[in-house]
């Protein structure tokens, strides 16, 4: 669908949400692989954004991401999300080791701005994807400075929504997470024209 819109050179809020969710899907999978959270055998090569990205083939992870991201897309298309956090925790101690924040910022776009729900942008898809590719490259490069996750880890995705968001079935409300002795590095941002996405990694400094 997003490609169909791209040919018209016009992205709606829904299309923007789709682009971002796609980025999240590839980004989160890439993080899972690059950070060595799951065994490398559980990943498959895929080509996306002109890069080779490794995607988890674990059915549980796939369904989890599918469920979370489809809901995220719905919220995103209504501009109800402030931030999406991917939290990496020690599976045994439940200590939070790393947190990848994807901050969402709504933008007005360059279409008709009388109705904010029908905002559009004419930003080219290829340009957006190039921006995303730069972020994806940075994600792979984080291995060089992020500390080793030397334990059995798991991850979770937390969606920071507006106060008036209804809680869907099978969803829970949770508290904020705390990283001890945190450090943060902001990666590049990209924008679909309707959403600006900042990627920030917060990690626990050893010692």
């Amino acid at each position: 669908m997003s490609t169909a819109q791209a040919t018209k050179n016009c992205i709606t809020l829904k299309g923007s949400a789709q682009i971002i969710v796609e980025y999240l899907k590839y980004g989160i999978n890439s993080i899972l692989f690059q950070r060595g959270i799951y065994p490398a055998e559980d990943f498959n090569n895929t080509q996306q954004y002109g890069l080779t990205i490794l995607m988890s083939k674990d059915p549980k992870i796939k369904t989890f991401l599918q469920n979370v991201l489809s809901q995220t897309e719905e919220w995103l298309s209504k501009n109800m999300i402030n931030k999406i956090s991917m939290v990496i925790t020690n599976a045994h101690t439940k200590e939070v080791l790393e947190c990848w924040d994807f901050n969402m910022q709504a933008e007005l776009g360059d279409g008709d701005i009388s109705d904010p729900t029908k905002a559009t942008t004419t930003k080219e898809l290829s340009r957006i994807q190039n921006e995303i590719r730069d972020v994806m490259r940075q994600i792979s490069a984080t291995v060089s400075y992020l500390p080793l996750l030397d334990c059995i880890c798991t991850f979770d995705i937390m969606i920071h929504t507006l106060q008036n968001t209804e809680l869907p079935a099978k969803w829970d409300e949770t508290g904020a997470i705390v990283i001890q002795n945190p450090q943060a590095v902001q990666l590049r941002s990209f924008s679909t024209g309707l959403h600006k996405v900042d990627t920030v990694v917060n990690y626990k400094m050893s010692t």
Binding site: G36, I37, Y38, P39, D58, K60, I61, F64, L65, N67, V68, N82, A91, V96, C99, D101, N103, M104, Q105, V143, Y145, P147, L148, L149, D150, I152, C153, T154, F155, D156, I157, M158, I159, H160, T161, L162, Q163, T165, L167, K170, W171, D172, E173, T174, G175, A176, I177, V178, I179, N181, P182, Q183, A184, V185, Q186, D198, V200, N202, M205, S206
Partner: protein, 526 residues
């Protein structure tokens, strides 16, 4: 309000059992004064100033370092910006929220002074106490509103109930390898002294400048064979003696030379398509083996087997002992075969051709020759492949280098047929050799610098460029002791490079350890 300040100062001064403090710092006094001030004008000014100072700061562009997770608990110390691990951290000024950071730094002390303030006021009047606390709540609300700190933010954090599974218990983070290297490679690289000028230069007039020929080889007996024009010469590297082995008839020439692994037998592939065997100790031709319809540009020995690659695209295995020498013909290339190397364990034969292919042939189950269908066909090079080298310490690793249109050095795992690494050398790759003493390899290049490059393997960090040749370097060979490399250039010179001389310290160490071991061994025998 100044009398309250005075009283609190006086009280502070009078406390004998507490820690002795000097007069409160200026900022504290100021804060106290501003907080204490129940006067409406100061209040409003204060709130305005807060609003303006924070107004430029929208919630989403929070400082990453001071994001909500960290700061709710940690308020007494600011998170240090520089990681202790020595990693470079480049602060993003645009993303740094100075106002918020300043607030967080001073928040704790601000709270303290508030409490002090409360104490002071409570002892004086109830009225002002109420005012102060009301003010405090007000202020905190204001600040949290502006900064959207932690849970006070008006939002919900939602997560899906069915969590992702944890990694299996047996999982070991593969990145551990990256972290377990004690010294960074970058500091290690270049630690070795490599002379970048040639030790010796020999004249090689009429050396044929042809990318598809292999016109030089260095024997285990320390003799360099080189074809110059229609002649083949032998240069004894020990004594420096030069001997002419043979001269071809007018118009014919040697296309390739290759020494047997041990001994003085030299195979010469000539321009008529025959492979000649010469006993160099007697300067005598032993036999001529035909089999090709065009010139033989590459040769490779495997004990009694000599494999020859020709311009007709075929590779023939010759059994030099047998009367019927032609064992098998491999036709995996469609154009001239210019690179041919047996692996160090003789399990595989690699061939490179002008059709940009690298073929890997596995040794035949019978032990003689190879299978007639290639085990792997690598088509990743964009130009003719002449430079081939097998890694001495990883027998399944093949390095291949492409011609001008390709310029890449590629590493292959022939066990599974995967490309392990590809490095753009930025110049035509004419020859590749692995060092036996170091985990390094040397590549010979053409335009623009006509240099030899030493690379660290497997990182492929450039160690040194050996320059001197004024035209492309066509062929390289290594001395039997592995310390010296000879290169033949199209500038009609042969240059000797002492680039892999063993480290004298390392060899000493090896000697001392071997001695130690020996004594233990002797003891155990007794």
């Amino acid at each position: 309000m100044s009398q309250f300040n005075f009283v609190s100062d006086l009280q502070n001064a009078l406390i004998m059992d507490g820690e002795t403090r000097g007069p409160a710092p200026r900022w504290k006094k100021k804060l106290e004064a501003s907080l204490n001030g129940s006067v409406n004008t100061t209040r409003s000014v204060l709130s305005v100033s807060y609003n303006t100072s924070f107004s430029g700061v929208q919630a989403p562009t929070k400082t990453p370092g001071k994001s909500s997770e960290g700061k709710t608990k940690k308020s007494n110390t600011t998170p240090s910006k520089t990681p202790g691990g020595g990693d470079r951290f480049i602060p993003n000024r645009a993303a740094t929220n100075f106002e918020l950071a300043h607030f967080l730094v001073n928040k704790d002390s601000g709270d303290k002074s508030d409490e002090e303030n409360d104490k002071a006021t409570s002892s004086n009047s109830n009225e002002s106490n109420v005012q102060a606390s009301a003010h405090k709540g007000d202020r905190q609300k204001l600040i949290s509103e502006v900064a959207q700190v932690g849970d006070s933010k008006g939002g919900r954090i939602l997560c899906y109930q069915n969590k992702a599974p944890a990694a299996p218990e047996t999982h070991n983070n593969p990145l551990k390898v990256v972290y377990s290297i004690k010294t960074p490679i970058s500091t290690k690289s270049g630690s070795r002294y490599i002379p970048t000028t040639s030790e010796r230069i020999l004249d090689a007039p009429d050396f044929i400048n042809d990318y598809y020929l292999n016109l030089m080889d260095w024997s285990a007996d320390n003799i360099v064979a080189v074809a110059l024009g229609s002649c083949v010469y032998l240069w004894n590297a020990q004594t420096g003696n030069i001997e002419q082995l043979t001269e071809f008839e007018e118009g014919d020439y040697a296309g390739s030379l290759s020494w047997i692994q041990e001994g003085q037998i030299l195979a010469i592939g000539n321009s008529t398509g025959a492979v000649e065997l010469w006993d160099c100790s007697k300067v005598k031709r032993l036999r001529v083996m035909d089999g090709h319809s065009a010139r033989v540009g590459s040769l490779a020995w495997n004990s009694f087997l000599v494999s020859s690659g020709s311009r007709d695209g075929t590779i023939v295995h010759h059994d030099v002992r047998a009367r019927e020498h032609k064992l098998s013909t491999l036709s995996g290339h469609t154009q001239e075969v210019c690179g041919l190397k047996w692996s160090t364990d003789f399990k595989y034969l690699a061939s490179g051709g002008n059709d940009n292919l690298v073929n890997v042939w596995s040794a035949a189950s019978g032990g003689v020759g190879t299978a007639t269908d290639p085990l792997h066909k690598f088509n990743d090079h964009q130009a003719a492949v002449r430079a081939l080298a097998w890694c001495p310490w990883q027998p399944s690793t093949l390095a291949s280098g492409g011609g001008t249109a390709d310029r890449c050095i590629k590493f292959w795992n022939v066990n599974n047929g995967t490309l392990m690494k590809s490095v753009d050398s930025k110049s035509q790759v004419c020859s590749l050799l692995f060092s036996r003493h170091y985990k390094e390899l040397i590549s010979a290049h053409g335009f623009a610098n006509n240099q030899l490059t030493i690379w660290k393997y497997p990182t492929m960090v450039k160690q040194a460029d050996l320059t001197g040749h004024t035209s492309r370097v066509l062929q390289m060979a290594m001395s039997p002791d592995g310390s010296t490399v000879i290169s033949a250039g199209a500038d009609e010179t042969l240059r000797l490079w002492n680039c892999f001389a063993p480290d004298p310290l390392a060899s000493k160490k090896a000697v001392s350890t071997s001695k130690g071991k020996q004594s233990v061994f002797r003891q155990s025998i007794r």
